[in-house]
Amino acid sequence: MVAVQAQDDLRRVLDDEGKPLPGVQVPAIPEDTLLKIFDTMALVRIMDDRMMRLQRQGRLGFYMKSIGEEASHFAVAALRASDWVYPSYREQGAWFWRGYTIEQFVNQLFGNEKDPVKGRQMPVHHSANWLNLVSISSPVGTQIPQAVGTAYAAKIAGKDDVAMVYFGEGTSSTGEFHVGMNFAGVWKAPCIFLCRNNGWAISVPTEKQTAAKTFASKAIGYGMPGIRVDGNDLLAVWQVTSEAIARARAGQGPTMIEALTYRIQGHSSSDDPSVYRDPKEPEIWEKRDPLNRLRNYLRHCGLYNEAAEKAHSEQVNQAITDALAAVDHIPAPVVESMFDDVYEELPWNLREQRQYLMAQPRTKSPHQH
């Protein structure tokens, strides 16, 4: 079980109620940015809730929610648009922040003809090259050296773009984590490693994942700074990410950030955590909810407007409803599209197979609409 950690090695700006802690420096986040983050975080919360209900109704095959972990998504907000991001499957906020739309998101979940990845991947495996957001991959860890390659490529190309990769603490056990971190250290690649420590990798708690005192301490082995931050404290996340970005852009190399948070619910829509953990454990963390804390902080700053939140929430809900309504009329990708994009051009074997398939009677797929 992840205990709330001693404060000295954990960067916090806000207390659990969302008030700045005495003596801390509060990062200067522009007001409109702060409000946009709040709105986007609320959107993620609403989306998760709606999609899980849909999944429970049997209308959606699979979903992955991030309730309680949303503040960590917004590390992305400290980047600029030309920076590249490799999200894992649990940072929906990163997508919406950069302008991925509710329609795109929903169409991806349904794998229909308007899905940006053409119905090729499971739900929550988005891709948006126009936003410099790289395709999500299920095999965890693989994205880490890829992000390092992107970061170093920017350096080689003489640009000051940085790359950021999100991953869970369980993923830090993969060989690819090590390999990616090590290359980044040697290359002084402008890369930010955002390890979202939510206490669990499916059913495996952190103490079965590593004997290291903290995940951030792993950075030492790669000669890079490792920073722990309260992952439910948006201001602290913004702050440490901004520092890491500044270092990266200045040619000072990579940073690993461990964002301490907690997976309040199951791993995915297929999981039932009551089998393996004490149902009391999440309760501690519900009190530290990042959305509440940010709302309280906005209130504290006089930036909060309840009516505006309500309006925004209604608008989001309506957009989701509309997208879901539209989904019923969006067909599955056409069958022959299965053969596209394997290569730039179709080789003879795929041409032959496409021809064969098109001559077969159509299969009514159980998950076509």
Partner: protein, 324 residues
């Protein structure tokens, strides 16, 4: 005799052997309290304790690497790879280490590790929860490859694997984990490794299948019968070493053959079967041996049922061999 599905049969095999042989240990991601994401190991940690049912950190290379070291020391590890698609980080440990240990040590170090992993599509898993990676391992000398299609064989073969001294990749058909049910004896019995099963007798065309495709082949066999065509269906069960005698006996009798597999067609195991048969029985062939297989694309999500071989396609291929 109790009725079990494949998951239950696998669990029963593990439990039976763990009771019989204290050297058997199970390890993998989520295999402990959670009992595995498909629940194949559920209840085992309660019975055998956390030193014999080990939740590992998230690293397939570590799961197989440590299993190798355990086997060398004298244990009988049965690691689980959560999905066949996630076996690739462990490929170096399997191909370069596990499979070659006995050989490269001049016979000094046998390495009896039985790797269990669910394979195949049809569960809406997209590229990364659907692959059938058998051919790489069949091509790797030193490891056996076993792929049951039903609960009886699953238990009997898994027990056989855990009682012999070579490494094995034991592929479980996840799409029918629960759907495939049948009578399974309690306690100990084995199904011989390397022996195929003729699951449907017939005279005009032989269909070779394994794992999740066996039931598709059987369905095609039934449809063929309705159309007046007599089809023999063989469930290979073991892919390495595959049962060449049973295959040849059948093809020599029928003169025609169709191979069905889920993995992409090109350089899939079907190619080997075709090549082996025509090397030994060309003169018996009335028609080319055809393959009904996954297409040469990554496994798709929405269109997976267009991707997967189905009974109509198999029947189509059977007809084609008859009309050739």
């Amino acid at each position: 005799m109790p009725t079990m599905n494949i998951i239950e049969a696998v669990r029963d095999a593990l439990r039976t052997q763990m009771r019989a042989d204290s050297r058997v240990v199970v390890l993998g991601e989520d295999v402990g309290k959670f009992g595995g994401v498909f629940r194949a190991t559920s209840g085992l940690v309660e019975e055998f304790g956390a030193e014999r049912v080990i939740d590992t950190p998230l690293a397939e290379a570590g799961i197989i690497g440590t299993a190798i070291g355990m086997a060398l020391y004298g244990l009988r590890p049965v690691p689980e790879i959560q999905f066949g698609d996630f076996i690739f980080p462990a490929v170096d440990q399997i191909v370069n280490e596990l499979a070659k240990f006995r050989y490269r040590s001049g016979g000094q170090y046998p390495c009896p590790v039985v790797i269990r992993t669910p394979v195949g599509g049809g569960i809406r898993g997209g590229h990364y929860h659907s692959q059938s990676p058998e051919v790489l391992f069949i091509h790797t000398p030193g490891i056996k490859v076993v792929a049951p299609s039903n609960p009886y064989d699953a238990k009997g073969l898994l027990l056989a694997c855990m009682r012999q001294n070579d490494p094995v990749l034991f592929m479980e058909p996840k799409r029918i984990y629960r759907a495939s049910k049948g009578e399974v004896p309690e306690g100990e019995y084995t199904v011989e490794i390397g022996k195929a099963a003729v699951v449907r007798e017939g005279t005009q065309c032989t269909v070779l299948a394994w794992s999740g495709m066996t039931s598709i082949a059987e369905e095609a066999g039934k449809k063929a019968e309705a159309a007046g065509i007599s089809v023999e269906v063989i469930d290979l069960r073991t892919l390495m070493p595959f049962d060449i005698d049973t295959i040849l006996d059948s093809v020599k009798k029928t003169g025609r053959c169709v191979v069905v597999h889920e993995a992409p067609k090109t350089a899939g195991f079907g190619g080997e079967l075709v090549a082996s048969i025509q090397e030994r029985a060309l003169e018996y062939l009335e028609a080319p041996i055809l393959r009904v297989a996954g297409f040469d694309t990554p496994f798709p999500y929405t269109l997976e049922h267009e991707y997967l071989p189905n009974a109509d396609r198999v029947l189509g291929a059977i007809r084609q061999t008859l009309e050739w």
